[in-house]
Every structure is written in structure tokens, then in C-alpha cells.
């Protein structure tokens, strides 16, 4: 059933909030008041409830079924974390209250930092970025600032990015005025030391490497690459989107990383929420730490926690200013810390192991029917297949994705990483039970056999069991309709 837009059922004559008339007052609006209220209809409370509940019913979520979206890490979102984030002591606190009245909030930031530093083996962390890409921005800014401080600001302006990288990597580098050079993809899915070494030189500011990489593999030569880069005067930015595979198993700090963002929503399970809000704290090496932006938390001699908010002074002498108003995503900090405390060190390690085991279980269970670009080698937290096995079937990777919807599953990530033809990237995460994986595997096997026996119609018409069937994305882009407009009155 189509749910109307709220504007189509709303009215300007009712309201879902009861507001009293204020006591008489003389406005001091300097003549800038609007002539009339904004023309937006309202719904009463019951209508509002129903409208959004019905909309929600058109969505798929982790809570409704398996969500094996590779690289996106859709894991369980504990409701304990939601409850903790809503404690008035966290949710109902203003960012600019006197610091004496927010010692608990600062302690959350301090504890979160401690966990992140211990898990990454890094000496410093900047908490404020509001998403992974925002963290990348911070990391590359710190690198740029460090290079400028070394007097090489004019000459070191190249950032190396593997072809398999997330799109945010080159976008971030370009935004900051870096020239982006690609590191080619190799048949084994890994970044090779030789390829990197061939690009290194006095113009190279940094490499942006994802580890485990977007093919689901731990970069085998990562230590050597980091060393080569450092020898050439560059910095190693690690895209930490896949940190969830190695938490408690390997510390990025032991691999030579200079900066790495951590998507709290991926690794530490703050809710994805249909696309945000995220949080992307960045851990930094000794060499980059001085360039972290404000604000940060410092413990005073009296044991009180303080906020350093002003760049250019004291411990923030080399800091480069703010990346956001206030202090970052407090609501996400609380959730992530709650997740960490619940797991403990050993639980986080177990979670990584289970995530890797789950992915390999799926990989091994489909290996006889699907084709994997890098052969039968183990993967980390996500299993990557290509579309060679679909050759001549008339079925595409996209068709498989849409057909999975009909089987009751969210599709895997498709056509990413770009370096693999018709990629299907499956990340079950540690939250899936064996029962659930077995059902998914059975559905995938059934689809694979259907494709191979030529049951094309099952795929091209998919999805059939979804609120809508395939949408016309071309039309949306060609004649963009980006908002509702009140229809003209019928003459």
C-alpha cells in the first residue's frame, strides 16, 4: 500500500502539539517577522504515529532480518546502548555548561579514548569527527599540517590511493588539494609493496590504505608498505572502516599506522539509523598527535577533567582549529562505550573472531557454486565473490541482489569493490547465528542453482515481495523532483 506524503493528508487547521497562548508581550523582532506562518501542514498525534509507523514498515533493518552488506557492518544494535544514551545526564546536557557540571560527560570521552587507544595501540585520538569521511578529513589535515610544519607543504602533495579504496578516500584527498595517484589492483586483491614503492618519492604525502581491505583481505605486506612510506617521508593513513575484523587481534599501531578513523557505527555498533548519524574518531601516531584539532579532554592536576577548546595555545599550540561546533557525537560516544563495557576486552576479541568465522563459513559454504576472485583463500570479516559464475546465464549481480530481497534477506553489497567484476561482498558480522547463516546459505544456493539452470524470470522481475518493485533511477535523476509542492487548485 502506498503511504501518502504527510503533506497530502495533513492540514493547516490541526496540530499535533498543544501550545498555550503566551502572556501578552511586545515583540522585539526589529520588523523582521514573517507575514504568515510557514505553509506546512500538520498531522494530529495519532495520524503522525500511524504515518511514520507505516513508513517504517516499508524498511528493512537488522532487527527484521540478516543484512549482509559488505563493508557496511550491519551488526546488532543493543537497546541498552540506546537507554544509556538517553540518560538525562548525557542527553539533556548542554555542550557549553561549565566543565564542573559535566565531569561525567568528559569522563565518558576520556574512557572511550582509553579503549580506542588500547585497542589500536596508538598514543592519541581525536574524537570529534562526525562520520568516517569526516575522520578522513581530520587525518589528512593532520598529515598536511605535519608536512607544512616540516616545511614541505609546497612539495609533498600526492596521496596514494588503491583502486579498491572507498570513494571517500580520493574525495577527501582531493578536497584538501592533494593530487591523487592510484595504486593499481592486483589479481590477488592485495596492495603490493612493489607497486607502492614505485610511486614513492619526495612528493608523496601519504597513502590511504584500508585494512582489512575492501576485498575482505588483511593486507599481507602492510608492515613493509608502512616502513617504505615512512622511509620516504610519507604518512600512513589507514581507513579503519574494517577495523571490526581485527579488534583485539591486531593493533594498527603495531602495523605502522599514523592515522586511522574508526567508524563507531561499524565497529562499536552505534545504530546506522538509515544513514546516520555516524561518528569517526581518529587515532594518531606520536608524529601526528600535536596536530589534532580542538577540542580535547585533559586531566588536570586536581583530577578534574578539562576541555581544551582553543587552538593555538598550550597543549593545542599546533592544533589546526575545529572540525565541528562543540565536542562531537556525545550520543555515539555513550553508545560505543556501553558496547565496549558490555563486551570487555575478551568479548571484543571474540566478536572479531566470530565475524571472521561467520564470513568464512559463508564463503566455504558457497565456494562450490559461486566464483571468488582470489580463489579459495580465507577471508577476514567479509566474503567476496565475482560474477564469473553468472557468465552466460542472463542473470547479473544486481539481479541476484534483488532476488535475495524476495528470499527475505537484505542484499549484499554489489559492484564494490570496483576492482572486482560484478562484485558481491557479503559481511554477516558476528551478530548472525549459525541458524541464520544456514538459511542465508540455503537461499543463496537456491538462487545460484536457479540462475545456472536458466530461470531468468525469477531474477529479472525481482523483487516481487517488497513494498515496491524496481525503481526508475534514471527518471529520478533526469527530471529531479526533490520536494513536494502544493498542487494547484482545480479550476
Amino acid at each position: 500500500q502506498i503511504e501518502p506524503l504527510l503533506f497530502e493528508i495533513g492540514s493547516t487547521e490541526r496540530c499535533g502539539v498543544d501550545l498555550d497562548e503566551p502572556a501578552p508581550f511586545t515583540a522585539r523582532l526589529g520588523g523582521l517577522e514573517a507575514a504568515a506562518p510557514v505553509d506546512l501542514p500538520a498531522l494530529s498525534e495519532p495520524e503522525t504515529m500511524r504515518h511514520f509507523v507505516r513508513l517504517s514498515q516499508k524498511n528493512y533493518g537488522i532487527d527484521t532480518g540478516m543484512f549482509p552488506l559488505g563493508s557496511c557492518t550491519m551488526k546488532h544494535n543493543p537497546r541498552l546502548n540506546e537507554r544509556m544514551a538517553r540518560l538525562p545526564g548525557f542527553a539533556d546536557v548542554h555542550p557549553l555548561q561549565p566543565v564542573a557540571t559535566v565531569q561525567g560527560a568528559l569522563a565518558v570521552m576520556d574512557q572511550l579514548a582509553h579503549w580506542l587507544l588500547t585497542l589500536t595501540g596508538m598514543p592519541a585520538v581525536a574524537l570529534s569527527p562526525k562520520a568516517g569521511a569526516h575522520g578522513e578529513l581530520l587525518g589528512l589535515m593532520a598529515i598536511k599540517a605535519a608536512i607544512a610544519a616540516r616545511g614541505e607543504g609546497k612539495t609533498r602533495d600526492v596521496v596514494l590511493v588503491p583502486e579498491s579504496a572507498h570513494g571517500t578516500n580520493p574525495a577527501t584527498a582531493a578536497l584538501l588539494g592533494f593530487r591523487v595517484k592510484s595504486v593499481p589492483a592486483r589479481a590477488d586483491g592485495a596492495v603490493h609493496l612493489d607497486d607502492v614503492a614505485g610511486l614513492l618519492g619526495p612528493d608523496v604525502a601519504a597513502i590511504m590504505l584500508t585494512n582489512p581491505n575492501t576485498c575482505g583481505l588483511f593486507e599481507p605486506q602492510i608492515v613493509e608498505i608502512a616502513a617504505a612510506l615512512h622511509a620516504a617521508g610519507g604518512y600512513f593513513y589507514c581507513d579503519g572502516a574494517n577495523f571490526n575484523a581485527i579488534v583485539g587481534k591486531v593493533r594498527p599501531g603495531d602495523l605502522g599506522v599514523d592515522a586511522m578513523h574508526i567508524n563507531l557505527h561499524k565497529t562499536f555498533s552505534t545504530p546506522h539509523g538509515g544513514g546516520g548519524p555516524g561518528a569517526g574518531p581518529v587515532v594518531l601516531s606520536e608524529r601526528l598527535a600535536p596536530f589534532a584539532p580542538v577540542p580535547f579532554v585533559r586531566k588536570g592536576a586536581d583530577g578534574q577533567l578539562a576541555l581544551v577548546e582553543q587552538a593555538g595555545e598550550g597543549s593545542a599550540a599546533q592544533a589546526f582549529g575545529r572540525l565541528t561546533a562543540f565536542h562531537g557525537q556525545m550520543g555515539m560516544y555513550v553508545r560505543a562505550l556501553s558496547f565496549m563495557l558490555s563486551h570487555g576486552g575478551e568479548g571484543l576479541r571474540q566478536a572479531s573472531e566470530d565475524a571472521v568465522l561467520n564470513a568464512n563459513y559463508v564463503r566455504a559454504s558457497l565456494a562450490d557454486l559461486l566464483t571468488a576472485p582470489f580463489g579459495d583463500r580465507p577471508c577476514m570479516h567479509e566474503a567476496l565473490f565475482d560474477d564469473a559464475w553468472l557468465k552466460d546465464t542472463g542473470v547479473t549481480t544486481l539481479d541476484i541482489a534483488k532476488a535475495l530481497i524476495d528470499e527475505g534477506f537484505h542484499p549484499m553489497t554489489v559492484y564494490f569493490p570496483l576492482v572486482v567484476h560484478g562484485a558481491m561482498l557479503i559481511e554477516p558480522t558476528e551478530s548472525e547465528s549459525k541458524v541464520s547463516l544456514d538459511l542465508f546459505i540455503a537461499a543463496m544456493r537456491d538462487l545460484a542453482m536457479a540462475a545456472k539452470r536458466g530461470d531468468v524470470a525469477r531474477f529479472t522481475g525481482a523483487p516481487r515481495h517488497a513494498p515496491l518493485r524496481r525503481l526508475d533511477e534514471t527518471r529520478a535523476a533526469r527530471q529531479p523532483v526533490l520536494r513536494w509542492t502544493r498542487p494547484l487548485p482545480v479550476a
Binding site: F25, R322, F326, M340
Partner: protein, 453 residues
């Protein structure tokens, strides 16, 4: 561990299927000497009750706004959010869904984004809005970058009435990106001559209204001047409830409007997560950053929605993208949309009237105190008071000790600017007459305690 569904027996069976003896065989690509032998040195797992005790204990060490008379603003406002809002955003299908890249099973998210865009466009008086940004401050920096792309000019002019954090974020981001920024000095009285700063090299002029000191700015003359110079007017709003009462930025000539949407539907959250509103004239739509949701039809001709114009975005365009941004503030903009749905235009108008009335009442009461001057000629729900030579930061500390969160000292935002005796005071619909009386009484007492600085 309660979140991990695999049992020991499951793991054994699965390892066998995978064909390895132990899970460490799957980590074989990691350098053996860097693989940790045991769990990191961190506390052991805690049950729910223990986590609640630990985090509850930390929460209790914060003075929550709702427990005291509360008057802080400066870009983050305490409003009453209906229970319906928080209930709905916690629905599994919203909370645990992903970016709607599979539109067939994400129409819930997509439709509310379309509704959100419509609401934001209407409120700002603009033609198009995106599906939200991280917050107002980052949206401000993105607006300046966008103006640069549109005008191909590299100097932005920032008003001295712009929230200092917003100015800082913009200077930082745009500075790194190679723009030059002309920041006017702090402009307490809204008396700066910004028009003279708009030269032929200016990409845009960034003006906030209500400004960081609470003043309402007449934007139309600035818009005219900017447009004459081939520059864009970027308008910043940090208090979205003000849209209910004031002429829209669009009506006054803005080209891009960015705003902090926290006030509608979202809690204070100690500063985040918030939701950035971003709207512009439709001719600039292909230069906008962030996600856009558009209407289309499905294979059976039924109306549906998809993310669109993604050729602007990083996952398609990589280093040619309009922005590196890859997320929005989904749940926060859902909260905004639900709260706005309950309010509608008329409800927001009434809410804004109450806010203004409360602020007027507070201003009158404080102005009556000896040693206190209200500096604003105009304001919405926040204004600046001068405390006759007292250090506002110290005043605020002493008020807090008396159980009153009395405002934001300007020096917190602008240290060293010589504005130490200025205090920003906000009053929304949550404040009662008793709150105002408590602040006035306490302020009078505190001012009597401390000597001039």
C-alpha cells in the same frame, strides 16, 4: 556473551566446514609477530546491570538541564520534544536500517527524507534542500565550498555575527581546501559594515541571523550587495525554531541557507549528534553536497523515492565529488521531520511566539537588575547582557554552584576578545516564570558577591 549467538559447538562445526583447525588460521595474512596472543588489557565483560551502574554513575556526575533553571543557547537549545518523536525513531525498521541504497526495501527512509527536504525548503524559503548534513557548523563550511564551486572564486567573507565555532570550522576546512577567508571581528551590536567587504573576488558572504549575539539581521541589503558583486549570500541559522516567526532567508534573498536543526526534535546531547539543514536555489542543485532524495516510479508505475543525483557523490565520482561526505544525520533528521509534522507551520509559529515571549520577559526582568544591560535591540529567544565589568564566566560558575545554568559567557566562545563581561542568555518554551525569577534573583546576588574585573 549475550550479543554473540555462536555457541562453542557451533564454532567447532563451522571451523570444520571452513577447513581449519582454529580461528587463528583465518588471520594468517596478519604478520605473526603482530598478532596478539590474548585479549587486550581492558576490563572484563559486564552484564547489563553493571553497565547501567557504571554509565549511570557517570551520567549522575553531570548536571542535567532539566533538573535546574536553564538558559543556555549559543547554537544548542533546549526544547520540549514530544514523546512520539523518540518512540518513532527507535523503531527497529528506522534505527537498524542502512543508507537506502536498495530503494525497494527502504521506502520508509526515503519517503521521510523527501518529506524532510520539503519541510526544510519551506522553512528556509528555498527551492531545494538536501537530506541533511552532520550539523550546522559543517554545513556552513560545505556552503562556502559550494559557493566557491559555483562562483569559481576563492574568498569568502564571514560576518562577525557568525557563531565562533562555525567560523572556526569554516576557516579550518576551507583554509585546508585552499580558500581564503575574510573573518570580520566579533560584532556584538550587529553594526558591522559587511557590504564593503564584498569585492569582485568574493565567492560568498556568510551572515547569521539571529546572529551569535542574538541580534536579528536585515539580510535583504546584504543579498542585494552580494548579488551585485556576483557573490552568493549564505545565511546561517543556529536556532531552527526561529523559522516560525521570522522572514525566511529565502524571502530575504539568500542563495544558500544552512542551519542547525537540533532545536526541532533533538535533544541537547552535550553537542551531538545534531542535524545540519542545507538548502539552496534549485539552479545550484548539482553543486550541492550530501544526499538528495527524489521522486520516481517503480516497475509498476507506483510512486516511489530513490537517492538521486548521486553523480555528485564520492562513491561514484571519487576525487571529482562535490564533497567527501558520505553520510547524513538520518535519525536526527527523522526526529526533525516527525516533530515538524506534529507542529506544522502554525504550530511552529506558535512555538516560536512562546519562545520570543519568554525571552522578552526574561530580558525585561534582567534589564531591571542593577549592573545588567541588555545589548540587543532585536532578538528571537536569545540575547546578550553586559554585566558591568564582571567576568561572565565567573558569574556562570557561581550561578551553577547555586543550581542555575545561567547562560554562556561570550568568553567561552571568544576567549581573549575582550568580551569577558558579556553573557548570552536564551529562553525557550521550557522556561517558567519561576525559572526567570530564580535566575534574576541569583544573578543579582552573584553580581553583588564579585568585584568588577
Amino acid at each position: 556473551m549475550r550479543y554473540l549467538p555462536l555457541s562453542g559447538a557451533d564454532r567447532e562445526i563451522m571451523l570444520e566446514r571452513v577447513g581449519v583447525r582454529a580461528v587463528d588460521a583465518l588471520f594468517a595474512d596478519a604478520p605473526a609477530d603482530r598478532l596478539l596472543d590474548e585479549a587486550p588489557d581492558l576490563p572484563r565483560r559486564k552484564g547489563e546491570m553493571a553497565v547501567e551502574r557504571e554509565l549511570g554513575g557517570l551520567a549522575a556526575r553531570n548536571l542535567s538541564a532539566g533538573s535546574v533553571p536553564f538558559f543556555l543557547g549559543a547554537g544548542a537549545y533546549r526544547h520540549h520534544v514530544p514523546a512520539t518523536v523518540d518512540h518513532l525513531i527507535q523503531r527497529s525498521e528506522f534505527l537498524t536500517s542502512y543508507t537506502p541504497y536498495q530503494p525497494e526495501i527502504a521506502q520508509g527512509t526515503l519517503q521521510y527524507l523527501f518529506e524532510f527536504q520539503t519541510q526544510v525548503a519551506a522553512l528556509t524559503g528555498m527551492e531545494v534542500a538536501n537530506a541533511s548534513m552532520y550539523d550546522g557548523s559543517t554545513a556552513c563550511a560545505e556552503a562556502v565550498l559550494m559557493a566557491q564551486r559555483i562562483t569559481r572564486r576563492k574568498r569568502a567573507v564571514l560576518s562577525g555575527g557568525l557563531h565562533p565555532h562555525y567560523a572556526d570550522v569554516t576557516r579550518t576546512v576551507c583554509g585546508f581546501a585552499g580558500d581564503s577567508i575574510t573573518s570580520l571581528p566579533p560584532d556584538v551590536a550587529a553594526s558591522e559594515d559587511i557590504i564593503s567587504q564584498i569585492g569582485p573576488d568574493a565567492s560568498c558572504v556568510v551572515v547569521q541571523s539571529p546572529d551569535a549575539f542574538g541580534n536579528l539581521r536585515d539580510l535583504a541589503p546584504i543579498a542585494d550587495a552580494a548579488h551585485r558583486a556576483g557573490a552568493l549570500l549564505v545565511v546561517v541559522v543556529t536556532e531552527a525554531v526561529s523559522f516560525g516567526l521570522l522572514q525566511s532567508p529565502g524571502a530575504q534573498g539568500a542563495d544558500i541557507v544552512v542551519a542547525e536543526g537540533q532545536s526541532i526534535g533533538n535533544a541537547l546531547n552535550f553537542g551531538g549528534p545534531y542535524v545540519g539543514l542545507f538548502a539552496a536555489r534549485s539552479k545550484f542543485v548539482r553543486q550541492m553536497p550530501g544526499r538528495l532524495c527524489g521522486e520516481t516510479v517503480d516497475a509498476e508505475g507506483r510512486r516511489g523515492f530513490v537517492l538521486t543525483l548521486s553523480a555528485r557523490e564520492q562513491h561514484i565520482r571519487r576525487d571529482k565529488a562535490t564533497s567527501n561526505i558520505c553520510t547524513n544525520s538520518g535519525l536526527c533528521c527523522l526526529a526533525f521531520t516527525i516533530h515538524m509534522t506534529l507542529l506544522g507551520g502554525h504550530g511552529l509559529h506558535q512555538l516560536a511566539r512562546i519562545n520570543h515571549a519568554n525571552a522578552v520577559a526574561l530580558a525585561d526582568r534582567l534589564a531591571a537588575l542593577p549592573g545588567v544591560t541588555v545589548l540587543n535591540r532585536s532578538f528571537f529567544n536569545e540575547f546578550t547582557v553586559k554585566l558591568a565589568g564582571r567576568d561572565a564566566a565567573e558569574v556562570v560558575e557561581r550561578l551553577a554552584a547555586r543550581g542555575i545554568l545561567g547562560g554562556v559567557p561570550v568568553s567561552r566562545l571568544l576567549p581573549g576578545a575582550g568580551l569577558d563581561d558579556l553573557l548570552l542568555v536564551a529562553s525557550t518554551e521550557v522556561n517558567t516564570d519561576e525559572d526567570r525569577a530564580a535566575l534574576a534573583d541569583a544573578l543579582a546576588a552573584v553580581l553583588g558577591e564579585i568585584v568588577s574585573c
